[in-house]
């Protein structure tokens, strides 16, 4: 259970949890007071550093929280020290003349692995989406027919859709050249939350929605617009 002792001394701050009991910690950590006002300032400091992508300069911070330079430096040091504790995964660093929040380098590998394993939502390029739409509504359909409808060449996207298991083959059409027929797959239904193809909304239904929707562009302005705060 040994948390290294020296860490206790490094911490300048009262509010952090110092750990451990009697025996393990003979040296009482110095407890420092934090006023409500300091707490507020630190909170705002943390929030603005978090939301800003570019490093925040000392001047910007001073202006933002309306505090003298020395005070801000002190608060920044406290904040940075809080973040340096080993149970924190982030750090506030001074880079390029400003302060910036980043993940700690020692966790980059874990984060990268994690991001990679995230199940990304279904993302498709516009050509792929159009091709998938044409196949969904016109299946089974051949590649030349898809191109004919879309009015553009796009053999590449079929492969993408096949790789994603959203479409599969459905035999060949009995015309010159016997082109392959494509159809949507089970995975397609799963991805779009459909029980079967009959659940696909029809174009007519979709257009009716748009027609009745008073807030769609072109329709008359709705009354009683909600007030914005």
């Amino acid at each position: 259970m040994g948390f290294p002792e020296e860490n206790a001394d490094e911490q300048p701050d009262a509010i952090q949890e110092s750990f451990s009991a009697d025996e393990l910690l003979p040296e009482e950590p110095a407890v420092e007071a934090i006023t409500m006002e300091d707490a507020q300032l630190k909170a705002v400091l943390e929030a603005i550093i978090y939301v800003t992508d570019e490093p925040l300069s000392l001047e910007q911070i001073c202006t933002a929280i309306e505090q003298p330079r020395e005070r801000v430096i002190e608060l920044l040091e406290q904040l940075a020290a809080d973040y340096e504790r080993p149970e924190r995964g982030l750090s506030i660093r001074e880079v390029a003349g400003g302060f910036k929040m980043t993940t700690k380098p020692e966790h980059h590998e874990a984060v990268r692995r994690f991001v990679k394993n995230l199940n990304p939502p279904l993302k498709l390029s516009l050509p792929a989406l159009e091709t998938l739409a044409v196949i969904a509504y016109k299946q089974p359909i051949t590649a030349p027919e898809i191109m004919e409808i879309r009015g553009v060449q796009g053999a590449g996207v079929l492969k993408t859709l096949i790789d994603r298991k959203l479409i599969g083959t459905a035999g060949r059409k009995q015309v010159v050249g016997k082109p392959i027929l494509y159809k949507t797959t089970r995975e397609f239904l799963v991805q779009f939350g459909l029980k079967d193809l009959a659940e696909l909304p029809s174009l007519k239904e979709f257009q009716e929605l748009a027609r009745f929707d008073s807030e769609q562009p072109g329709a008359s302005e709705p009354s009683g617009e909600a007030p914005r705060a």
């Binding site: 991001v115 279904l122 993302k123 498709l124 509504y137 409808i149 050249g177 909304p201 174009l203 909600a226």
Partner: protein, 271 residues
Amino acid sequence: MSLPASDNGTLSSTPLNFHLDQYEGPLDLLLDLIRKQQIDIRDIPIATITSQYLAYLDKAREMDLDIGAEFVFMAATLIHIKSRMLLPTDPALRKEGENGEDPREELVQRLLEHQRFKDAAEMLQQKRIIEENVWSNPQMKHFISEEDTPGLDVGLFDLIKAFGEVLERVKSRPVYEIEDETVSVADMVLHVRSLLDEAKSDQPVFILRVMEQQRSRRAMICLFLAVLEMVKSQSVEILQADLFGEIALARGERFAEADAVPPATIEEEYK
């Protein structure tokens, strides 16, 4: 219920401050009348409310506003309730229950439900206000490798929308159709050129697919001859990725030279 403004039906003659087009439906209008006059929703003075409601419809008509059928239907409902309220209570019925059923009950329930959803909408709005005042600054982009191509986050309605847009485009597309019976080799040279122009430089155009789009024997022959001409003049290359694979066309060395195969010359040759 004491209403300062109300003295029994004459209220309808006092024009209330309507914004005539603000009501989404009759329930909205009724609720507003009730709220403005601080009426107890469970004990609506139906005669007063009915005449006010009808006055509203009249005023709307005067101003030539489009009154939906649902407003008219509600007027009928109100009049019906009012007439039932006026009927003397059947003494036989009175013996059974306390008052019999209040003719207003169903309307009250609908109004209450409507009010609940208005309140729920307000609650959602407040929640949204909080969300509009907090920010998140995720840093995923630093951890996503380059090869993950960004794309659209796609749902079911994106699909139908895309399909609708494709069909729209079909309608508005200028049809590059070659009259089958008059098509020439030169036309086909231009056609193939335009296909290669449209295709990305690294994307092949498959001969077979172009062939399939032709609707007459003559067009197919012209296309075939055009391809041969273009190969000869090095404006296209023929590619075949693997044995028995599909034959594709790609831009040749002299593709950029538009007059590598002067149409007029070809036209002459194939006369």
